[in-house]
């Protein structure tokens, strides 16, 4: 037994000492050479969120855990000037997995004031959809009324864009101008209840006319606390070529505002944001088919608008570590769609939130939201929601 024990100890010691000599400087330097970072870089970033939703619509109650949305962002940096970026969106809706390509574009830095992008990119129509919509950035679990993929404002487009920023010696000016396929008009053939709406997901242009748009943002103060932006988006044709709606045009504009600053007197960060969207589509005549088969033509003044204003406060100068990580949010949003349209709607929404920031990119959001609507797909009424969500950026 003693001999066996001694043999095991000797073998063990030899093994350890051999293992120690394995790490020599010569080999280490070779290994580190192999892992020297290359100029070409690839990263996966993105975000995800999940949560629990409670809904009460005129006494009809629902509650559901909502599926984990997952949005990976792929960044391929070819050089200091050239990059490809793409974002996928995986979401669970209506018991189905929905996959979307949020954007996929190639960008090239022409000079310090100008970058060109081509492909499918987020449109700088205001700031919400381009900069603020990801779940870990958006301070509330929902988007304001009129924003999003089915909103009255464009979220993304396929085309080409020039963008950049100028330092004006304290103040800053940023700009973006672009041309895209533009939206297509829903003429009511497939979805009669949406006749006259614009569909911004126009992957293959339905006519020869392109949409042109742009945004100018001014940051008047040196501390970048305030930004005022004006965006426009215009197209002379939204209908399908050779159809009755081919020459229907659309003109949209947006005004956005942001103020973010740590104010010592208030003991923390104040964040005020807002955006107003306005959409004006040429009037056209649509056809409504009644249950008895009779057809009736109708038209309406095709103007829509939406607005949101949001105030949030983080007591970052509080003495308690717990308090520092809290954030209080309140948001008002409003949506008005055309009177006389099948999708006519006037809605007001108030949302109140309490966030707890686990890290700079991970937040637990608790929110209450109440929406009063007249018209709309659901016929209107009051809907109250309660959310507990967890969002994480990576």
């Amino acid at each position: 037994m003693k001999k066996l024990f001694t043999t095991i100890v000797v073998i063990g010691l030899v093994h350890i000492s051999y293992g120690q000599t394995y790490n020599n400087f010569k080999i280490d330097s070779i290994v580190s050479q192999q892992y020297k970072p290359s100029k070409t870089q690839f990263m996966i970033r993105g975000y995800g969120h999940t949560g629990l939703n409670f809904t009460n619509t005129e006494g009809e109650r629902e509650s559901s855990y909502v599926g984990s949305a997952f949005a990976p962002i792929f960044l391929f940096k070819h050089s200091d000037r050239l990059m490809f970026e793409a974002e996928l969106e995986f979401g669970l809706e209506n018991n189905e997995l929905e996959i979307g390509l949020e954007y996929a574009d190639v960008m090239y830095v022409l000079n310090k004031n100008m970058t060109v992008r081509a492909g499918k990119f987020l449109l700088p129509f205001g700031t919400f959809m381009e900069r603020l919509h990801p779940a870990w950035i958006n301070r509330l679990p929902t988007r304001p009324l009129g924003f999003g993929h089915d909103g009255i404002a464009p979220a993304s487009g396929i085309g080409v864009e020039l963008r950049g920023a100028f330092d004006l010696g304290g103040s800053k000016l940023n700009y973006a101008v672009y041309s895209t396929n533009g939206p297509r008009l829903k003429d009511g053939t497939e979805e009669p209840e949406e006749a006259g709406m614009l569909m911004f997901q126009n992957f293959e242009d339905n006519n020869t006319s392109k949409a042109f748009g742009g945004r100018i943002g001014l940051l008047p103060f040196a501390d970048s606390s305030t930004e005022i932006g004006f965006s426009t988006y215009s197209t002379s044709k939204v209908g399908a070529a050779d159809s009755n709606y081919e020459n229907v045009g659309a003109f949209l504009y947006a005004i956005d505002f942001a103020f973010i600053k740590q104010i010592p007197a208030l003991g923390g960060f104040i964040d005020i944001k807002g955006q107003y969207n306005n959409s004006d589509i040429d009037d056209a005549t649509y056809t409504e088919v009644h249950e008895d088969g009779d057809e009736e033509e109708y038209t309406f003044d095709n103007k829509s608008n939406s607005l949101y204003t949001q105030l949030s406060y983080r007591p970052t100068m509080a003495s308690s570590d717990f308090m520092k990580k809290l954030e209080f949010v309140v948001r008002y949003s409003n949506l008005n769609t055309p009177e006389g349209a099948e999708w006519e709607e006037q809605s007001d929404q108030y949302a109140f939130g309490l966030n707890y920031w686990l890290t700079w990119r991970s937040v637990i959001k608790i929110a209450y939201q109440t929406t009063d609507s007249v018209g709309g797909h659901d016929g209107g009424g009051t809907t109250n929601n309660f959310f507990v969500h967890w969002a994480i950026g990576f």
Binding site: N111, V177, W360
Partner: protein
């Protein structure tokens, strides 16, 4: 609508033309060098200051330790374009993040 479309189109074309002229003309080499006296009184924000001010415009300022230098280079290029930041802002923020991680 046609008139407004034309106005927007002409306005955007003028904006693009003007921007191209300004951005191409304003190369660094053609700046008049500031004198020593001007340099002495020139106030420049640090990368740390800009990190606190600029990143917070959309999201909470990131922790420098969460990515390595190479990652910050990739993220900086992405953010410069996404948030339309000036070159000076992003260069200083990137330098700060790489020095503090």
């Amino acid at each position: 609508m046609k008139t407004r479309y034309k106005i927007v189109l002409i306005g955007l074309m003028l904006l693009v033309t003007g921007t191209i002229i300004i951005s191409c003309a304003s190369t660094k080499d053609k700046y008049t060098a500031v004198t020593d006296v001007e340099e002495e009184f020139k106030f420049e924000k640090s990368g740390a200051q800009l990190w606190g001010e600029v990143c917070n415009r959309c999201h909470l300022a990131p922790s420098p330790a969460d990515y390595n230098d190479t990652d910050w280079e990739t993220i900086s290029l992405h953010m410069k374009v996404r948030a339309n930041l000036t070159e000076k802002e992003i260069k200083k923020i990137e330098a700060f993040l790489k020095s503090a991680n």
